[in-house]
């Protein structure tokens, strides 16, 4: 029995225990599948836990701004002050909010009927509102004397005005309605009127980088691009269903995203309008509003399906979805300028 060789597992504890207390623990691995039974159910539980924990710790809802007696129809961010937000309601009331303390600082009835749209001037000292009563009113952002409660300027339009947007630098703003009109702050009549057929426009937006460019959504399912220096429209993109709103990418001037009635969002490149650069799916009802994050990497969309979704610009599906129990149909969404918060206005 001399020529027997026996080998037995004999581990030296020193190979498996750490040498000093400062050392890290040794963790030898062996990926042999027979040592890891029940792979599928364990992985399932892990995945489920990961999703649940992410949701548990997310708590995206911070609070609500209580005060409007009717649904919120439009929102406007202050261009330089993070805490200031203006909101217009379906009953014609405008409220100014202090977001830091979540309180209303000022409220007044601005229009008869809806407040269709709101926008601040680039300096932030005044803001403009348009309503169903065919008026375009400019208001002081800060009230110092009782006179400041009244509009600085009231313009009467020939037809209903549905949207307003301000030029980044020049004292020009554009409204839309039956036609797209360009106004100058000092004049009581439009500087320019862009017409295309008989269909009306319901949303208009200035490009904030290439600041003479503006785009509007028309009810004949088209998006029309204008240059405010030119006398006519530049391009027209006809979709299959109606585009509801439009947002320009603040970092890439040639990119804009359209919230569409067919539950999708479409990102277009101005240089190549033949087909969309990307289609963002996931909403289960018409998308009402869209707004870009100041980084231009993400955007938020609000939909008729009572959800707010966050998309990455390069991806076809949403990164996150927000929905609470009391949530109603969305009318407007905004991404705050410090890239931290999302503001949404709901119907009542």
């Amino acid at each position: 029995m001399s020529n027997i060789k026996i080998k037995v597992i004999s581990r030296n504890p020193e190979d498996y225990l750490r040498a000093t207390k400062r050392d890290i623990h040794k963790l030898p691995r062996n990926y042999d599948p027979s040592l890891h039974p029940l792979e599928a159910p364990r992985e399932y539980v892990r995945a489920l836990n990961a999703v649940k924990l992410e949701r548990v710790f997310a708590k995206p809802f911070i609070g609500n701004l209580d005060g409007h007696r009717d649904g919120v129809s439009s929102l406007a961010k202050h261009p330089s002050r993070l805490a200031v937000l203006a909101s217009g309601a379906f009953d014609g009331e405008i409220r100014i909010w202090d977001l830091a303390v979540r309180k209303c600082t000022r409220n007044f009835v601005a229009h008869e009927g809806w407040v269709r749209s709101l926008c601040y001037t680039p300096k932030g000292d005044t803001f403009t509102s348009v309503g169903d009563d065919k008026t375009i009113k400019s208001w002081k952002a800060e009230v110092e004397s009782p006179d400041d409660e009244e509009p600085i300027n009231t313009l009467l339009s020939m037809s209903v005005v549905t949207g307003v947007t301000h030029h980044r630098i020049k004292p020009i703003f554009a409204t839309c309605g039956e036609h797209c009109q360009l106004w100058e702050n000092t004049r009581n009549e439009p500087v320019k009127v862009f017409k295309w057929g008989v269909d009306s426009l319901h949303h208009v937006s200035f490009n904030q980088v290439e600041d003479n460019l503006l785009a509007s959504c028309a009810s004949d399912r088209s998006i029309i691009l204008y240059d405010c220096r030119e006398s006519g429209p530049l391009r027209k993109v006809v979709m299959e269903l109606r585009p509801n709103a439009l947002a320009w990418n603040p970092m890439e001037a040639f990119i804009f995203t359209v919230a569409n009635e067919d539950y999708n969002l479409y990102t277009f490149d101005v240089r190549k309008l033949n087909h969309p650069v990307n289609i963002h799916q996931d909403h289960t009802s018409a998308v009402i509003d869209v707004d870009y994050a100041p980084t231009g990497r993400e955007f938020v969309s609000g939909s008729y399906d009572k959800t707010v979704r966050i998309f990455e610009t390069l991806k076809g599906h949403s990164r996150d979805v927000y929905h609470t129990k009391r949530m109603q149909r969305l009318t407007c969404v905004k991404w705050s300028l410090d890239n931290k918060y999302i503001l949404s206005g709901l119907m009542k």
Binding site: K5, S10, P28, D32, H36, K236
Partner: protein, 568 residues
Amino acid sequence: MMKVEKKKRYFDSSESVENCESQNDKVEVFNIKIDASKFKPDKQFIKNAKRPRGKSNFPGKAPVNEKKLEHHSRGEGLESANIKHPLYSARLKKKENKLIYAQEQAARSEILLTEEQGSIQTDKTISTSVITQNIIKDNIDIAAATKIFELNLDFGPYRAKYSRNGRHLLLGSQKGHLAAFDWVTKKLHCEINVMESIHDISWLHVETMIAAAQKEWLYIYDNNGIELHCVKKMDKILRMEFLPYHFLLAAVNEFGFMTWLDISIGEIAGHYNNRLGRTSVMTQNPYNATVCLGNSKGVVSIWSPTVKDPLAQILCHKTPLTAIAIDNKGMYMATSGVDRSMKIWDIRNLDGPVQDYRLRSSPVDLEFSQKDMLAVGLNNVVEVYENCCMQTAQRPYMRHKMAKSITNFKFCPYEDVLGIGTNKGFSSVIIPGSGEANFDALESNPFQTKKQRREAEVKALLEKIPAELITLNPFEITQVDVPSMKEQIEAKKNLLYLKPKKIDYTPRNKNKGKNNIARKKIIKYAARKEYIEQSVEAKKLLNIGTEQNAPKESYGVLDRFVSKSNKK
């Protein structure tokens, strides 16, 4: 009140505003049509861009051994030809590539394993079965030789079980002796006498908790021998098995009641009678965490906590069963009966034994090791067979004879050790090559510190698999649940046997002078009509009622005597 101001109306004046309508003809118009091909997968950065192929001096990584790749394979890949949509096909292809990559990396990492498996090398002339423990002791190092030891204890037949990391040993005797100790360092955790008979013992998820099935109830002790719980819902238990990933303690009692106790929350996950009578042969299938019972009629049945009938049944022997064992991969099952035979079955394909052995006497216990060696206990001899499932083993790999009778034995995980519980105590013998040499520290670590154990406990609790997921095929959870044709037709058929809606006849306001009975009849009639319409529609869907049109047989005048059901 809003102040009415003087407003200027630009459109009243004749002053012309610059009008741009005339220029619209020149503008480019883009029509967008969206179809499926426009949707594209999410953009991802290409990490390993393909380099132009050709002869190069640097051929890249060394090829992986085919056998190793096969060992780490999770089954065949997907056939992309069956997927019609290019988007999904591309997405699945990408996923498939990741799986292939993982498999390759796992196979490559085998080179990092440090320990070598045990083995015996002899001349061709000498059979390994003649090698006794004394010879082994002389031929191995001193540290390993301490693993051969014997405990002579006085309290009758002992049962032994190792903890999951193979470091701790639990002994329980028929006469109430309960002892837990670290068998490597021989450090005693606790030793008590419960003053009752102990039928079975088990470690729970950590080595600080012990379950003992005593004469009446199930008791749980900690590693100092302090009684933590007395589970009176589980009485007269004969055998127990702990399912570590589900935190379930499966037990069967004298009356055939099976109980799964969730030890993390102390609730019973399943409790029913198996209608097999008294069964003291029980084992678990580590592959899918089902429990196997063998009864006195020779039938092996497989059970899960949520299904009250056996998931599978198989007649293995024509005589009462004495032992069952299932290997680690859940491939083979060994059964033995009183008829002195031992059969190996393919557990995933239960037709006909793979191997059929005749033994000298009927085995007391069977046990598979981590490396698929089968230990067979015959009265006072333990025989260990190597490679006995795929081919018929001619002679045992090792034999160990003792002067005591065996009650049970267990292979120690991650060691080449077989621990045998006998009527006079416990003996530990070395079986070279039976254990897995390289442990995975994140799965079970024999060198675990207290802190690591606590951390692992929390992680294991987070990953506790719910009891409902115990099925024959553990990968069922990864499959898509598609209702079969049969189920679809059943669902349609159920439409036929709809019960008419229950209607609350009591009206909200009592109408004076109006006859309620008439109203009730109208409501009833409407409800019935709706039901009939529904069932007629359902019948149309299923094309039932054709047999009514079959011509009936006529007996002329004698028709009146034909029973009504026949007439139809």
